[in-house]
Every structure is written in structure tokens, then in C-alpha cells.
């Protein structure tokens, strides 16, 4: 399952008003580590779709949200619950390391 894209237009509905926990992957086309980690996120999205929603936000196309959430390094992953950021993970990491960081939301 490929994590679906969200934009400034859909962010409120898809992320802030989501009943489930949502991980937002802040990424860009020109960021090599973002592209490298993307298939790992897709795997995690597939394996844990019941607990965690995973969506992607392109920072080039949605600079307002990148600024609002004070993104200064990508890839950056922010987990939202009830509209609030409850966890931030920065940088491309191997799957076991990401799973460990996200344990509270996927296990």
C-alpha cells in the first residue's frame, strides 16, 4: 500500500480530524533520504493500517504546513493524535529503527 498524499487543502480533514493516529511524512522530490525511506513507510502503512494512518506531505508544494510545523530537516515524521503532534522522528532510518520509534502507535 502506498501512503497517500495530503495537501494544505486536505490536511485538516485527513490529519487533524482523523479518528486514528496519523503519521505525516514531510518529504520532497530532491531529498534522497526521503525517497530511500519511502518504501519502508509504505510497508509499515500496510502492516499496521488498522492502528496508524500514514500520509505524505510534499514540503515544496505545501510550504505553509512545513513552516507551521517548524520543519527544518527532512524526512521528518510527525504523528498526530486528535489534531496534536504527539511524536516527531527525524531522518531516514532502517525499518527496525523506525518501528522502534513508532512502537507506541503500531504495537
Amino acid at each position: 500500500m502506498t501512503a497517500r498524499a495530503v495537501t494544505e487543502a486536505t490536511f485538516e480533514q485527513e490529519v487533524l480530524n482523523n479518528d486514528k493516529a496519523v503519521l505525516v511524512d514531510f518529504w520532497a522530490e530532491w531529498c534522497g533520504p526521503c525517497r530511500a525511506v519511502s518504501p519502508i513507510l509504505d510497508q509499515i502503512a500496510t502492516e499496521h493500517s488498522e492502528k496508524l494512518d500514514i500520509v505524505k506531505l510534499n514540503v515544496d508544494e505545501n510550504p505553509g504546513l512545513a513552516m507551521k510545523y517548524q520543519i527544518t530537516a527532512i524526512p521528518a515524521f510527525k504523528v498526530f493524535e486528535k489534531g496534536e503532534v504527539v511524536k516527531t522522528v527525524i531522518g531516514a532510518k532502517p525499518k527496525p529503527a523506525l518501528e522502534a520509534d513508532l512502537a507506541a502507535f503500531i504495537s
Binding site: 534522497g32 533520504p33 517548524q70
Partner: protein
């Protein structure tokens, strides 16, 4: 069991794979899970790789090297090596997903990792204004004041690249001259957004949730002063990535894997090393590629000199013994 496993997906690993694949050794290349392509993935324009007179983007060059390796039958696995067994005729490579792969020969080409400043605040501020990847993070520093630490080609490239976004880029270097190539130096000197701070090192990084500045220490006088910054990019060099082979392969005093003369042979037969993990001096994409070639040719020669697979050898021996006995029997009859 395979003939050969290549660990690493930079210019050394993929060039070794091109040669090994063309020698019909069907190499398995372990590319890592999130660092596929190695250091060039975080660079922009590569201007010194022969054959590209107009330059080529680092990630594009790596995609081409991978395509070339795969064209001849290289199999690429996107996972990380967690454990290695190198001694003996069967080498074992254990991956993060739990799988173990076996081969008669290994080429170890894991490159190097960014060196850290070694300051306690580094962990906390990493990703919050402190960065090792200008191409990834420069975008977020539009109209900001930032600094690059370092004096080599990477530092000059990053500083020059960052002027696309930032209003002001300091280059902080602990000496009074640069190690960078002349062309990269000149490009930085000519850039009016770049200001050099010589003979200075970072004594501390300020900020609790994001970088707000640094304390600079003069490397000559020891004097300290503050500098306000929105971001700090570190490009102070790299350390060979040898943690998987500590205690297994001999290292040099510089921390790289020791190889015999101009070959890629390590202290363990059948284990070859290539690229930046063996190279404390040159560390170029093209020297790494050359070194990958050497490793593939060394490995090919090693594999050719091996006795055939154990089962075949036993069968062969039994057959030749039977043949000799038959011959002697025939001789006896003739007598």
C-alpha cells in the same frame, strides 16, 4: 551458496558489481535500507566524474551505476547487514530482515559516515537547525543566517549550494587555509553571501528546541565568542564505516580496512575491501569506482583458484580413485 556478495551501494560497490556480473558471478549486492547509493545521493552536481563533461547530479550517477550493474545480472537487496561471518570457505551475511546469505567471497565497500562534532547538544539539536545534508535541509533556511563547519570540498559545495536559500552563510574552519580543491575554493571566495571565519572551531551550540547560535573558539588564541545563527551544517569529514568488521578485519592506524599493497585483499582469504572504507586519502567517486574494479578482479581470481564445490570435489575424488583402481586392475590383468 553464491560466488560473491558485495556489501555497499556507492561507486565502489556498484562498480565491483558491474565487473563481477560481467564475469558471470551473479553478485548479490546488499544496498542498505535507507542509504542506497551512498554519499553521492546527498550531493548535487558532480563535475569531476570522467565522461560527464556537463556534470551529472549525484543521484543520477548512482542510478546509472545501479542500472549498469543490474543489466548484467546483479541482484540488489535493500536491507542492512547486521552480522558477518568471514572466516572459512563459506562467508555468511545476516540481514536486518533475519535472512542469511552465503557466498565464497565478500567485497566489503561500506564507505564512510559523516563525522560528528562530538558535542553533547548535537543529539538534541540534530534536525532542529543542525544538519549534515545541505541538499536535504537547505530549503528550510530561506533568508536565514547559517554556517557551514569544515574546509574541504564538501564544505565548499554545501556553502555554495546553501547561498541559493540563505541570506548569509559563514564558513567556519579551524585552520587559516582550505583543503578544498582550488575551483571549489574560488567559487566560495567569489560568492558575496559567504563569509569565512578562519582558525575557529565550534565550542558549543546554543538553543534548546532549535539552533540559535554557537560559541566559537579561536584555535590560535583560545578566545571564545558567540555567533547568532539559524542553522549549522556540519561537513568536517567522514569516518570509515568499519563497525561490522571490528575484531575481524585488520585496520590501519587511520581506521580504514588494511589491504595488501595495491590489491583489495584483507587479512582474511576471500574477503576483499574497496572504496572509502579502505581509503584515508583520496576518497573520490572515481577512485572508489577504480577500487571496486580491483576488488571484483581480485575476487574473480580468488574464486577461479578455489577447488570446485565440496560435493563435486568428493564425487570427483571418488571417481578418480575408481578410475585409478580400474586402471591398476587392467594393468594387473595385462601383466
Amino acid at each position: 551458496m553464491r560466488d560473491i556478495i558485495i556489501i555497499g551501494s556507492g561507486p565502489a560497490g556498484f562498480t565491483a558489481a558491474i565487473y563481477a556480473a560481467r564475469a558471470e558471478l551473479k553478485p548479490l549486492l546488499i544496498a542498505s535500507s535507507v542509504e542506497i547509493g551512498g554519499e553521492l545521493m546527498n550531493t548535487t552536481e558532480v563535475e569531476n566524474f570522467p565522461g560527464f563533461p556537463d556534470g551529472i547530479m549525484g543521484p543520477d550517477l548512482m542510478a546509472k551505476l545501479q542500472a549498469q550493474a543490474e543489466r548484467f545480472g546483479t541482484e540488489v537487496v535493500y536491507d542492512d547487514v547486521v552480522e558477518l561471518e568471514l572466516v572459512g570457505p563459506v562467508k555468511r551475511v545476516k540481514l536486518g530482515n533475519g535472512e542469511t546469505h552465503e557466498a565464497a567471497a565478500i567485497i566489503y565497500a561500506t564507505g564512510s559516515a559523516y563525522r560528528k562534532l562530538g558535542l553533547p547538544e548535537e543529539e538534541v539539536l540534530s534536525g532542529h537547525g543542525l544538519s549534515w545534508c545541505a541538499t536535504c535541509d537547505g530549503f528550510f533556511f530561506r533568508q536565514k543566517t547559517i554556517a557551514v563547519v569544515g574546509g574541504g570540498d564538501s564544505a565548499m559545495e554545501e556553502a555554495t549550494f546553501l547561498t541559493r536559500f540563505a541570506d548569509k552563510v559563514y564558513v567556519i574552519h579551524r585552520r587559516d587555509s582550505l583543503k578544498a580543491s582550488k575551483i571549489m575554493q574560488q567559487r566560495a571566495f567569489d560568492n558575496e553571501k559567504i563569509e569565512f571565519i578562519w582558525n575557529a572551531e565550534i565550542a558549543a551550540i546554543h538553543g534548546t528546541t532549535a539552533v540559535t547560535g554557537v560559541t566559537l573558539r579561536d584555535t590560535v588564541t583560545g578566545d571564545e565568542r558567540g555567533l547568532d545563527l539559524d542553522g549549522l551544517f556540519v561537513a568536517i569529514g567522514n569516518d570509515p564505516r568499519t563497525h561490522l568488521v571490528h575484531g575481524k578485519l585488520d585496520l590501519t592506524s587511520e581506521g580504514t580496512i588494511a589491504v595488501e599493497g595495491r590489491t583489495s585483499k584483507t587479512n582474511i582469504p576471500g574477503v576483499f575491501a574497496a572504496g572509502d572504507v579502505t581509503d584515508p586519502h583520496y576518497r573520490q567517486a572515481v577512485t572508489a569506482a577504480g577500487s571496486g574494479t580491483v576488488a571484483a578482479l581480485d575476487a574473480e581470481q580468488y574464486l577461479a583458484a578455489l577447488p570446485k564445490a565440496p560435493e563435486a570435489e568428493v564425487a570427483g575424488d571418488a571417481a578418480s580413485v575408481a578410475e585409478a583402481e580400474a586402471g591398476q586392475a587392467a594393468l594387473a590383468v595385462a601383466n
